[in-house]
Amino acid sequence: MRTKLHQFHGGLHLQGHKAESLSRDLQQASLPERLYLPLRQHIGEHNKPLVDVGNRVLKGHAISASTSLIRAAVHAPTSGTVAAIGDYPVAHPSGQTDTCIVIDVDGEDEAATPFIPDLQQLDAREKIELICRAGIVGLGGAAFPSSPKLSRGKVQGIDTLIINGVECEPYITCDDMLMRHYSAEILRGVGYLQRILNPKVTLIGIEDNKPEAIAAMTRALAHAQLAAAEIVPIPTIYPSGGEKQLIQILTGREVPLGQLAFDIGLFCQNVGTCVAIARALEQDQPLISRVVTITGDNIREPGNWEVRLGTPVRHLVELAGGYLHGDSSHLVMGGPMMGFSLQGDQVPIVKASNCIMVMREQTMAHSLGYHDECIRCSKCTEVCPAQLLPQQLYWHARAGAFERAHEYHLFDCIECGCCSAVCPSGIPLVQYYRAAKSEIRAAQKALIKSDRARLRFEFRERRLLLKKQQEEERRRLKREALQKKKVQAGGEIPIADPVQAALERVKARKLAQQEDSQ
């Protein structure tokens, strides 16, 4: 069987810059002195800490969790003592701090006793439960918890399982390394996914600039017990690793607007996630480490490390030989197209961290300051994989005409950065879109809030009015009852006006005096 490949609209041929970090083999990162584990490392609500300061934790202990539907617990990556729970810098585009559990590493790396179930006895729902308990999220970058996605996929019914080993963004090589080293484990993870979802076909997409990974995966597939699975090398063009783009390449289908992949019977999972699933099910090992690329033009020894979550970037930089030119580095988490700048090297590695780019300030300098105006050349339209009109979006976003931008499908922008990369005017287009998106979201939130406040106010007004009416009604009834009682008691008593009576008395007296004087 040979899968027919399709094309997606636009895209870019970019300089790979992958050789730098592939020049060294995968290494195990040493443990730092302290680990910083943010309560939230996935898409969804914040976790609540399960430990207190001073508690001793073992490797694999759950230290924070939540009860919401979209959830992913965080586990202690090694043994140690909880030193603090508080706000620390985290990897987030806003550069803000977030609550982290800080673990003082004791160096023992003592693991909690694993509970290894008999996988043959488990049904799909129980397997999903184990995956949930292991805190597994999509490791391709979005960090969406895997278990709710699997549950939905199972309910919807899946015909094609797509395994994403594309890694299309320049500089990043962690999935490449992972496929070279853990191909068998990846395929075992794929096997579990197959048993949960029962797809008809499984397609493993890998960009053709990774011949070694393709070879390793093909060798492993020959020995694996997988039904109807195929390794599909795909042409190297950015952003072929985007979920929607990969679906288009492998199946020729588009995910309809407003729907998700499993709505049309497709399920995508990253190769790293497959390894995590295999480890969770086979060894009861939660998600406590991942492969991270550290590369860029200001790091001495670029490469890939298997790193415990919570390890500060600084520790990784030291492992990679330190900065080449002083420490005036620009750090980026993720790749050059979709990554985001870090505030400093104290931020920790989280589940979503696939790459740390260490760049010299001057190589990044162009991203700031003056840019020319849009001349509507529509180079951006040519490369947009979502087939949007970036120039029109920019026009409206810049003018603050957010409704118009919404109309031009602002929220279908996948922020791949192709438009910015080709713009002859050097406009940071994606930055404008991100800003517009967050303003629209904020406005919507404010609208919901003000709507709620208005409803509350109106309800209160109604309540007070009702109370007043009831009060009046009560008084009226009481008055009526009183009236009735008086009538029964013997006719109406005329009400005497004291003023009138006094006046009449005075009048009578005057009259009497006049009569006297006459």
Binding site: L14, P93, L257, D327, G334, G335, D372, K379, D412
Partner: protein, 340 residues
């Protein structure tokens, strides 16, 4: 260590306005050379003057608007606009005509709207139209190619004309109506086109000399397409529009309506298709919209040429189509990913 937060992508820019404009200038060279070869060095004087005046106006306008001067002055957009404007003028024009026209191009056509990227109308066409309706005599005094008039004009002669030192009577003998003009007047007097075309100003297909100049623009246009500076939609639709209209009427009456090839190779159709209508700022921006835009201009060119008051019509056709651009763009939005 604290970094300034900037947003991805972080790649070094691979393109620039300057690069784009340089491609246009390169593409203008073959046609300009052919023009100077057939009609003398006057056009080169016009281009030089127009570029110098344009840069002057651009600098003044930026200064007044308190905008950074050097980045805009060096992006070459003013040079391209001036060059195109100069090519619209009669080959010999007095210096003040260039000054007034380019003044309107840069100020009224571009900077009053907010500068590059914000002007709704093609600036060079704005400047040209202002001159055409303000100075009809100067703007319709065209000269024959040297091979027809027999006179060889030196650079000195052309300079003398530009700066007012020439004997106007002597020049009058060399002036002539353009081929498009002659067709228009001839047809108006019920002369058959086959007869009109006996005049020495006509070449094999279009006007003598003009057909080669058009070929030069065509070569330049292919360069623009090859370097992906422009895309095919506008030129193909525009040329297609002119050809289709010309073909229909040519088939109706061969003696009243000139051949499609004549329409294509006369006047400014080819330069209009590849260089003027493709000005991205004022053109439609969607693929389908560009086809509509190109067809509209092609259609208007033919209508104005044949039934309108002007022998050539690129400027009016382009300006009219510019007005429709927001409308065209709104109704020709592409289907986006995942849309039914």
């Amino acid at each position: 260590m604290t970094n300034v937060i900037v947003s991805s992508p972080y790649l070094a820019p691979g393109n620039s306005l300057k690069r784009l404009m340089t491609q246009v200038i390169i593409a203008l060279i073959p046609g300009t050379v052919a023009y100077a070869w057939y009609f003398g060095p006057g056009v080169l004087i016009n281009i030089t003057l127009a570029v110098l005046f344009a840069l002057m106006f651009e600098a003044i306008a930026l200064k007044l608007r308190a905008r950074p001067v050097m980045p805009h002055l060096t992006d070459l957009s003013a040079v391209v606009a001036a060059w195109l404007f100069a090519l619209c003028l009669p080959m010999h024009s007095p210096w003040w005509l260039v000054l007034v026209g380019i003044g309107f191009t840069m100020i009224a056509g571009k900077h009053v709207y907010g500068g590059l990227g914000f002007n709704p109308f093609n600036p060079a066409m704005v400047g040209y139209v202002v001159l055409l309706i303000s100075f009809p005599r100067e703007m319709t005094t065209w000269y024959l190619p040297g091979s027809v008039s027999g006179a060889t004009l030196t650079l000195g002669d052309a300079l003398a004309y530009s700066f007012g030192g020439a004997d106007i009577h002597q020049w009058d003998a060399l002036s002539s109506a353009t081929p498009l003009d002659q067709i228009k007047t001839g047809v108006g007097q019920h002369i058959a086109i086959s007869e009109i075309r006996l005049s020495p100003v006509f070449g094999n297909y279009g006007g003598k000399g003009w057909e080669w100049v058009s070929l030069g623009w065509f070569v330049g246009g292919l360069w623009l397409l090859g370097t992906r500076t422009i895309r095919w939609h506008i030129p193909v639709a525009l040329l297609g529009g002119v050809l289709a209209m010309a073909l229909i009427f040519y088939l109706v009456d061969i003696e009243r309506y000139a051949s499609p090839l004549f329409h294509l190779l006369s006047g400014a159709v080819v330069i209009g298709a590849f260089f003027i209508a493709t000005d991205p700022v004022t053109a439609a921006t969607t693929d389908r919209g560009r086809i509509v835009y190109g067809l509209l201009i092609g259609f208007l060119i033919y209508v104005i040429r044949v039934w309108g008051g002007y022998p050539d019509a690129i400027a009016f056709a382009v300006l009219l189509a510019n007005m429709c651009v927001p409308f065209i763009d709104y109704y020709t939005q592409p289907r986006i990913y995942g849309e039914k």
